[in-house]
């Protein structure tokens, strides 16, 4: 019986000739990523060794990545102290894949991992962040776990008792229309599958549209697969994956891409033609409450947010800058831009996008998770409405349960910044 990509990856990582959906396996972990919640992982890790008489030492420090991104620079003494503890752990255990709050190495974990070549096709990656699904964009099996589970991985080097997930195959055809993007595709798919439609399942992306899509676009799809409940999204590695890893991430060693078997067993197949797809909006307060922009156009917005691990990459910033160039952010609307990494920030400066944003009236913030999770930047006032290229619109997500968050693509966000109302970029300010 044929295997899906994830079944093949798990079989290899568990040292088995084959596995199928529902089997329980113990895959070796190739990369274990945490952010600020490494502080909690460290507590739990210590707890594992309590009373054992053994020293708490990670199984392989070269496979641990820690990226400070959720609250940078620290918003409170508590966070600063947690970050300080993490730095101590990093030094003690010699963790090389550590990215501190620095312009020459920092950014959001889901951008730092790919751009530094830490993600490889065929790898098993776990992260204490639900959007760890992102790294499936490079053909890895990458999924989110809790802090205690990470402590177990640090101790054992394996993810224990993993149930091999069933796979939903999504086949995408057609060419995106002007101002329609991978974000619109994934919002449309989440609306179709619902927020729980892929719970305990993997979404494997196929079709000509995916083959022609950049790694940046694939990261958007896999990043948000978790919003349909998916354990992971995955794009089987191809020539584009190799191009990205060689040219953009500087990877020199041999790659081991994994393809599904022709007779792989899928739970279901979903086909989508994007040629007639309109820009999409996920309306409050669930990500699967998705409507075409035409249905919500005209709604006033007080805050536009462009950035995040979903849509804070150079092509996203280019899209927004091209729409905004020479124009102004509407009175009564604030616009915040936060690139996904400092590398992207520098590229955006060189290309002139930062100037485009600032002269239009936007605030360009430091790379990090920023306003997306409502911790310390860009909180909303009572009854305010935000339109964001981020990935979640749960009630209170942007720091205030009395506010609304709508999700969209960079093109919709930029066009709406100019008008101050939700705007279809195909007819809008550009």
């Amino acid at each position: 019986m044929g295997m899906t990509v994830v079944e093949k990856i798990l079989a290899r990582a568990a040292g088995l000739p084959s596995v199928k959906a529902g089997d329980v396996v113990e895959p070796r972990v190739d990369l274990a990523m945490s952010h600020e919640n490494a502080a909690l992982v460290m507590n739990q890790f210590q707890e594992v060794y309590e009373g054992t008489g053994r020293e708490a030492k990670p199984w392989d420090a070269s496979k641990i990545a820690i990226i400070l991104d959720h609250r940078v620079p620290a918003e409170s003494p508590k966070t600063a102290t947690n970050q300080k503890k993490i730095r101590g752990f990093v030094v003690k255990h010699n963790i090389a894949k550590f990215h501190d709050v620095r312009g020459d190495q920092g950014g959001i974990c889901h951008q730092i991992l790919p751009e530094n070549g830490y993600v490889r096709p065929g790898a098993v990656i776990v992260g204490t962040d639900s959007h760890t699904t992102s790294h499936g964009a490079l053909g890895a099996f990458s999924f989110g776990i809790g802090a205690t589970e990470m402590a177990s991985v640090w101790a054992l080097g394996a993810a224990v008792n993993v149930e091999v997930p069933a796979t939903i195959k999504v086949v995408v055809s057609g060419k995106f229309g002007k101002h329609v993007e991978p974000k619109d595709l994934i919002l449309h798919l989440i609306g179709k599958l619902t927020a729980q439609g892929a719970n305990f399942r993997v979404i494997e992306f196929h079709g000509e549209t995916i083959r022609n899509m950049s790694t940046s676009g694939r990261l958007v799809l896999c990043n948000m697969s978790v919003e349909a409940g998916a354990t992971s999204g995955i794009v089987p590695a191809d020539a584009e994956t190799e191009r990205y890893l060689r040219d953009e991430a500087g990877v020199k060693d041999k790659l081991n891409p994994v393809q599904p078997d022709a007779d792989a067993v899928y739970e279901r197949v979903v086909e989508i033609d994007v040629s007639k797809l309109a820009p999409q909006i996920a309306c409050p307060h669930t990500v699967d409450n998705v409507k075409p922009v035409t249905e919500v156009a005209g709604k006033r917005v007080q805050q536009i947010v462009i950035g995040s691990c979903t849509n804070g990459r150079l092509d996203d910033l280019a899209t927004a800058a091209n729409i905004l160039r020479g124009k102004k952010v509407a009175d009564g609307t604030r616009m915040l831009v936060f690139p996904a990494s400092w590398r992207i920030y520098l590229q955006a400066m060189e290309k002139g996008y930062v100037k485009d944003f600032v002269t239009a009236g936007a605030v360009v913030m430091n790379p990090g998770c920023g306003p997306c999770l409502g911790v310390h930047q860009g909180a909303l006032g009572d009854d305010e409405v935000a339109l964001a290229t981020t990935n979640r619109n749960f009630k209170g997500r942007m720091g205030n349960p009395k506010s609304e968050v709508h999700l969209c693509s960079p093109a919709v966000a930029a066009a709406s910044a100019i008008t101050g109302v939700i705007t279809d970029p195909r007819q809008g300010a550009n």
Binding site: N37, T79, G146, T148, L156, V160, F394
Partner: protein
């Protein structure tokens, strides 16, 4: 047996259970104060210790969707409730099992606020209405962790066994 003290809809997110703005707080001794923080009245009752241990929270499908934050589990665990949901989001379910939160998947549950609910064998019994509902088994993959009393004792055993 416990009383239903909170009845929730579908897709209750971890932001609802534990708002992101309190994520710098990580210790299980400190997270309970922010439990369902934006449900102001319920949070106040929790903090005033008006909700006894073993009280029941009933939810529709996809409970605990969203973030992997373990605070969403430790915050609830601080009050020892029984969670009965029609289905549970993957990461939240695993975190619950790993930390030993009392959580049950019951796809057909019908219970209103104030109803007395009890778990009897493979069933959830609504004592108030006299009806019972089948429990869906937790993923078999997690049984060894449940048997060990949580992921920390499980991992500790493995470490001692040298594996």
């Amino acid at each position: 047996m416990g009383k239903v003290v909170l009845k929730l809809g579908a897709d209750i997110s971890t932001d609802d259970i534990y708002p992101g703005r309190y994520m710098a707080t990580v210790l299980p001794t400190e997270t309970p104060q922010y439990c369902f923080f934006d449900r102001t009245e319920f949070n106040a009752k929790l903090r005033a210790k008006e909700i006894p241990d073993g009280s029941v929270i009933v939810a529709e499908h996809n409970f605990g969707c969203g973030s992997s934050r373990e605070q969403a589990v430790s915050t609830l665990k601080g009050y020892n409730p029984l969670i009965v949901a029609k289905s549970i989001s993957r990461i939240f379910l695993q975190n619950s099992i790993n930390l030993g939160l009392n959580i049950i998947i019951c796809p057909t549950i019908v219970a209103e606020l104030g109803h007395e609910v009890e778990v009897q064998g493979g069933k959830v019994v609504n004592k108030t209405t006299g009806t019972s509902f089948a429990i869906e088994a937790l993923p078999a993959a997690r049984q060894a962790i449940i048997d060990a009393g949580g992921l920390i004792p499980y991992t500790r055993k493995r470490v001692m066994a040298g594996a």
